[in-house]
């Protein structure tokens, strides 16, 4: 408990620590959503998947004693929800946005229902890797206490990039997402690809949820998600449907989110409502700056119903 004040140094440290701690769920959910959207469908239900994953992960970790088993369970719960979304949207004239919204309600409701007995027990948390061992400052050590899932998330962003751009399956996924007719002409099963892509998206979103309950902030409660699942959908658009960009956007969002509390910490006590809104202001600013009049949907998968 030998802690001394480090003054203004807190600020960069908090932003770095915040980027690492807060961004992980965003990375997983946004990359999951990216895979789904690349297939030409939008799954708005990831907020519900996130909550379900957080609950399932916490529950399985508590019952089995293994947090990694919890992560897997969260992923499987998410996959089930992805399958549900994928199947329902495969029925003719079913709107994927509406199904997504109903899945938010269903996922959150199920998570609350099954999560009731999990609020009080303490489940084993995911281990973290101390990258700050070289420093004698406890603040630095705390900021660099990095969860393993964070690294998995970074690897994932690159893996998804390679998958989408360098593999045959990736090409198939992009074709299905860009032009249904072309995909049919090539003999691809459009529905099967879309259902699988939504399942993969659900798997990752479930894992993102398990990070919330098993690492940071690190316990199951009904107020756990404050809209991370919804924000991740926006981050995908912000990242122009590119996985490396989605990683960057998540990191930026996490770091900016730490700005509000950190500024108050170093004594900038006014305007905290404004600083707390920093991530959203930043997102808006970059989106406005990166718009193009000539080709507003240049990067969007052609089959996405956002702009039809």
């Amino acid at each position: 408990m030998d802690v001394t004040s480090i003054g203004w140094l807190t600020l960069p440290l908090a932003i770095l620590g915040g980027a690492i701690r807060v961004s992980t769920p965003f990375i997983f959910v946004s990359i999951g959503e990216l895979i789904t959207e690349k297939s030409g469908r939008i799954n708005l239900g990831l907020e519900g998947t996130l909550m379900l994953g957080a609950m399932a992960g916490y529950g399985v970790s508590y019952l089995s004693g293994s947090p990694w088993l919890g992560v897997l369970a969260a992923g499987l719960a998410g996959t089930t929800f992805g399958l549900l979304h994928g199947l329902l949207c495969s029925v003719k004239r079913v709107n994927d946005t509406a199904i997504g919204i109903s899945l938010i309600v269903l996922g959150t409701g199920l998570a609350f229902f099954f999560g009731k007995p999990l609020i009080e027990p303490k489940a084993p948390a995911l281990p973290s890797i101390s990258l700050g061992f070289w420093s004698s400052m406890p603040q630095v050590r705390a900021a660099l206490d990095v969860n393993a899932l964070f690294f998995v998330g970074i690897l994932l962003a690159f893996a998804v990039y390679v998958f989408l751009n360098r593999t045959g399956w990736g090409l198939m996924l992009r074709t299905v997402g860009d032009s249904e007719d072309a995909a049919r002409a090539l003999g691809f099963s459009v529905l099967r690809v879309r259902i699988l892509a939504t399942m993969a998206g659900g798997f990752l979103a479930g894992i993102g949820g398990s990070f919330l309950s098993l690492s940071y902030p690190g316990s199951w409660s009904e107020g756990l998600s404050s809209g991370q699942g919804i924000m991740a959908v926006a981050l995908v658009i912000f990242a122009r449907w590119r996985s490396i960009n989605a990683l960057g956007a998540s990191l930026l969002f996490g770091g900016a989110g730490a700005l509000g509390p950190a500024l108050q910490g170093v004594g900038v006590t006014g305007y905290y409502y404004l600083f707390n809104a920093a991530p959203y202001i930043l997102t808006l600013a970059i989106m406005v700056a990166s718009t193009s009049r000539a080709a507003p949907f240049a990067d969007a998968p052609g089959e996405l119903k956002l702009h039809r």
Binding site: S5, I6, P217, G218, S221, T269
Partner: protein, 370 residues
């Protein structure tokens, strides 16, 4: 009679008839010697380690009493849904006392329901009854800042860095009153102590609360206190960082077995019993019921294992002085953190002084801004 095709209108008529029949038949039964049914509404989860849990604990205590039946509904939004919930409790369960525990239920929901059901007593947490409102409404609240003052004394004795951290939701008068009391308590131990406040901007924001806690610990605070709706995350994060903590609303001792010092807790069973008594006695409810530690409306969590005998003794003495009335928390001279005198020398503002309702400053020694 000719058979009409089944249309929407006749379906609705049927539903209405089916729905109202049981309550019409129930009315005579309500006057017989039946147990008192109390309906309780919560805005959030009963297990939030916070405000709603403090009410749920009182409800659980109420349930154990003979002759009292409790019906509860959690996660009732502060919308027309609150009226539906109250109406359901009154009509279907025969509730004679409604305890509406969230601030937003008062206007217009409790007011409208009270006008519609004049024979039912409504008690609301935090509202202020004024003349002209229905006579069957009671409003109650507790001076939690007195318990927060005692937590401040314990924190003041325990801190080594002379810096305390406090994670708060929004700068509302009620919160400011408690934040100030915590600081006044801590600084009564050692005037060199500083309290750093971080406002998260909303009542429940787990990730930002954890971030705020981390920042405060990084700034050198070695005791973290919380004034958010569900302090579980703050206390847990403090425990993970190896610092001490003070709870709020209900006890969070079990999430921080090492560092939990004490906490300011509501003791709602006392006002619940006051209103249950007035319903039983057929009297009008107390319209404006406010009390503090001396009337058992608030309490402190049992001391954690780290709390030294000196700190315990000082806390017990403060409690006795508050109960005896020899100690007034807001006593002049008192300055705000900008140097202005807010309570002049020689002036005391007792806990029930309505001046404190409009408090809009942070006292000297607090780093933070309203």
């Amino acid at each position: 009679m000719t058979l009409r095709p089944f249309d929407r209108r006749s379906f609705l008529q049927m539903l209405a008839a089916a729905g109202s029949a049981p309550f019409v038949l129930d009315i005579p039964a309500a006057h017989a010697e039946t147990p008192l049914t109390v309906g309780i509404l919560y805005s959030g989860s009963k297990q939030d380690y916070g405000f709603n849990q403090s009410h749920a604990q009182a409800a659980a205590a109420l349930k154990k009493l003979p002759g009292i039946k409790v019906v509860e509904e959690e996660r009732v939004p502060e919308t027309i849904a609150a009226q539906r919930s109250m109406e359901g409790m009154i009509r279907q369960d025969g509730a004679q006392l409604i305890l509406a525990t969230s601030f937003g239920y008062f206007k217009p929901h409790v007011l409208e329901m009270a006008a519609k059901y004049p024979d039912v007593t409504f008690a609301h947490t935090g509202g202020v009854w004024t003349a002209g409102m229905p006579e069957n409404i009671g409003t109650f609240y507790a001076y939690i800042f007195e318990a927060q003052y005692i937590s401040g004394i314990v924190a003041g004795h325990m801190t080594k860095s002379k810096k305390l951290g406090l994670v708060a939701a929004k700068p509302t008068p009620n919160l400011l009153r408690s934040i100030n009391a915590f600081a006044i308590g801590a600084r009564s131990v050692d005037p060199a102590i500083q309290v750093q406040v971080i406002f998260t901007g909303d009542w429940v924001l787990p990730v930002r609360e954890a971030e705020a806690t981390n920042t405060l610990v990084d700034q050198g605070a070695d005791v973290i206190a919380a004034q958010v709706d569900s302090p579980k995350v703050v206390i847990e994060t403090a425990e993970k960082r190896g610092v001490m903590s003070c709870g709020y609303h209900s006890s969070q001792a079990d999430v921080a077995p090492n560092g939990y010092l004490t906490g300011a807790e509501w003791n709602w069973i006392t006002p619940y019993l006051v209103y249950a008594g007035s319903v039983r006695g057929g009297k009008k409810p107390e319209h404006y019921l406010r009390a503090g530690i001396s009337d058992h409306f608030v309490k402190n969590s049992p001391f954690g294992k780290l709390v030294t005998p000196e700190a315990r003794a000082a806390a017990e003495k403060a409690r006795a002085d508050l109960i005896g009335g020899t100690l007034v928390i807001y006593s002049g001279p008192l300055k705000d953190n900008k140097g202005n005198v807010v309570v002049p020398a020689g002036v005391t503002q007792n806990s029930n002084d309505r001046v404190l309702d409009g408090i809009n400053y942070l006292v000297e020694g607090i780093i933070g801004q309203v």
